[in-house]
Amino acid sequence: MLGYLTLILVCQLAGEFITGAMALPVPGPVLGMVFLFVFLMLRGHVPDGLDQTADGLLRSMSLLFVPAGTGVILHFQLLGEALLPLGLALVVSTLVTIAVTGLLMQWLGKGESAENGDG
């Protein structure tokens, strides 16, 4: 378990370092995800311990957004002033984006899922 947590941190650190040094437009952890993915490709399977470590992190992923969300208290005033444009923009945009992306992906991906009988 500890070994694989170390591997995850090493991937993240490498990601942070490279995105920072090369001023890439992706966040370090996303590049770290790519590194861990490459590791899995080379290994050819997911080792048991990594499975458990990743599962533990991902099962409680929602919790990890609470501290950042609490940052809302820094912006009470600004949010109050622009409540209507911001609130409506967020709701409409989130709904339209989900519908457009979902319908398009389902439509474009139809052939693949039908011929393989999954999805």
Partner: protein, 243 residues
Amino acid sequence: MDSLQDTWVYLSASPLFHLTLTLVAFQAASLLFERMGRNPLLNPVLGAVLIVVAVLVLTGTDYGTYFEGAQFVHFLLGPATVALAVPLYRQWHRVRRSALAIAVSLVAGSLTAILSAVCVAWLLGGSEAVLASLAPKSVTAPVAMGIAEKLGGLPSLTAVLVIVTGILGAMLGPKLLDMTGVVDWRARGLAIGTASHGIGTARALQVNETAGAFSGLAMGLNALATALLLPLIWGGIVWFLRS
């Protein structure tokens, strides 16, 4: 009695208190969510944030003091993002087969997220700084803040808008996808991840592994797509809105 009071004053400002508060608030919000038949309006992230905000306001605690404790939870966001490689690897055979569909849907979704948000806020009289803070709101927080800064927005406002967008996507997304007849787990995951990044992905992972993997993939790809596209088209958007 005095020593009790002193101990409380000491502890209530300590990192341990705010770390525990974060966990207890989330457990309480999750319990409520489960007990009420997973009603989307009781989203655990939203519930936990409301509880923590209430406690901070009532005790007069500033965000910096709170964050000293909460940072231990916040820190794990990075490792959790890296760990998304595991479900992605397990679902890779599905991802590879639909690579073109994913690319087209993702770019369409990314542009929709930007343009729809900016248009609605502009019609309702949002200032240019508000529009610039809003434009990258579907992208994971660190990237969104960087983009907002480039466009002349307020990065810390963007962080809040990103979180609210994530909660909205996790709350309303599954119901909307049911209503529009999107039953393909790949499409459901891709839609949630494109619109509402990590918070949507966390929710998708709890429902279905295929949806979770596609959502995590969409989150990463949309961060890249928006970071590349938005600065390019922003000049055009501002010119169009001014004319």
